[in-house]
Amino acid sequence: MNWSSILSSSIGKKIVMAVTGLFLISFLLVHMGVNACIFKDLFDPTDNGDMFNRAADYMGKTALIRIMEVVLFAGFFVHIIQGLILEWENRNKRKKGYAVNLGNKGSKWYSRSMGLLGTILLLFLILHWWHFWIPSRFTHAGLENPILLSNNRVSHDMFKLMTVTFSEWWVVVVYVLACISLAYHLLHGFQSAFRTLGLSNTRYIKLINALGVAYSVIVPLVFALMPISMKMGWVGF
């Protein structure tokens, strides 16, 4: 049994999904942590995104993080491609379908819709990159005027870019919908990843299930609150 045959088997593919999924889950936590700095504004109206910009600046300038960024992209890439292949292959295992489907009698709709939810997230991701990542790395569109941070470093004003982006209703709606998709994707994905990696102890499964629900609710909620707070003017200049 060589590596490739193990990783390309049905379980192997799932292991790849699980490992990359858990990696993305840990990334989400970091991403959420950094972005949640915008909420400093709620407690200190004079902050005007300084804390967030400092965090973003740090992330952008640290070598390790930059390397991780590449790994992250690889993770996204593998998770997405593998996910699409899996979905495609699995669908083809039943050429002739049923007249009456089992539907929700046996499983949760979101468990069966990981491919769909994932595709929604992929589309969102492209929009999200176009909104923030591409400007910050390449085009600097909307980031023409650097600002001086409280730690005396000069940086892009990502906070400003956010407030501008989230001033549009449709953007806020799309982001919130994406967060809902994310929540459901995680609700299944979180515990499923652990099962795929072989967690079979009933006590731990219970623990992971609880953690999974908490994570799937909290993380997307925090993300969703960002565009909402900006649009509503709770956070901003």
């Binding site: 193990i6 049905s10 295992k93 039943r94 007249a99 089992l102 072989g198 967690l199």
Partner: protein, 254 residues
């Protein structure tokens, strides 16, 4: 038990053989006692069809006690019908209301091709067992049965997994047509026993390889299999199979 007679409309999949196209056929069945089993209702219908000079409906069945795993009907969108933990043959007409329409289809999966009407070919399951679902001990090799004590909890868990009757409902219910619940039941049954541990690694690797070759899908942990399994095999077994596979995959020497 109070019983009454009910009238039903059946929409049943009819297909001459593996090569031909099938279609749904509608039958009205009257005066069905609620004391009948689901298959006895089919018997009554078939008797009538034969008398009328029509083709009876072919379906698999043998023990009619919920243990041989032969019966296999997908009834109103659920393998083995509406009752939990029940095979088709143990389902009784009490489960249905007068005037109801019941749709009956065969198991659907590429790995279970239809042979005729509601009968499918499940020999892929046998080939998966051939790939490693056994303990290699020739007759006469055995030591005294009590020479190897087995922790009771493990023995019980092993037994619970061994209760699988190989019916294939898990595959029929799974959106991916995955056979993982079936496989995991076998792997768990053997892996939890000390007798089964020398072959743990090859068993997991080879059985999965065979499952993939047979054209079953990959498990995405939706849980539909567990919900319809007539023997209530737990999906936790799948996690254990994953563990066995991962361990074998990481430690295999070749």
């Amino acid at each position: 038990m109070e019983h009454k007679n009910i009238n039903l409309t059946l929409k049943v999949w009819k297909q001459k053989n593996g090569q031909s196209q099938g279609r749904f056929e509608t039958y009205l069945v009257n005066d069905i006692s609620t004391e009948m089993s689901f298959l006895e209702m089919f018997d009554v219908l078939n008797e009538r069809l034969i008398k009328e000079g029509k083709e009876p409906i072919a379906f698999d069945h043998d023990c009619r006690e919920g243990i041989c795993g032969m019966c296999s009907m997908y009834i109103n969108g659920r393998p083995h019908g509406p009752w939990e933990g029940t095979t088709t043959c143990q389902l009784h007409m009490r489960a249905f209301k007068d005037g109801e329409t019941i749709v009956v289809e065969p198991w659907r999966a590429n790995a279970f091709p239809v042979l005729k009407d509601l009968m499918v070919d499940r020999s892929s399951f046998d080939r998966i067992i051939q790939a490693g679902g056994f303990i290699s001990v020739n007759t006469g090799n055995a030591v005294d049965a009590n020479a190897m004590p087995v922790e009771k909890d493990k023995a019980d868990a092993s037994f619970a997994a061994a209760a699988c009757i190989g019916c294939g409902a898990c595959v029929a219910a799974c959106k991916n047509s995955s056979a993982m619940l079936f496989l995991s039941a076998k792997v768990t049954h053997l892996a939890l026993l000390p007798q089964g541990s020398p072959e743990r690694k090859t068993r997991a690797l080879n059985m999965i390889a065979q499952m993939d070759k047979e054209g079953f899908g990959a498990c995405t942990n939706t849980g539909a299999c567990e919900a319809v399994c007539p023997k209530e095999i737990s999906i936790t077994n799948i996690a254990r199979l994953n563990q066995e596979y991962l361990y074998a995959g990481l430690t295999a020497d070749k």
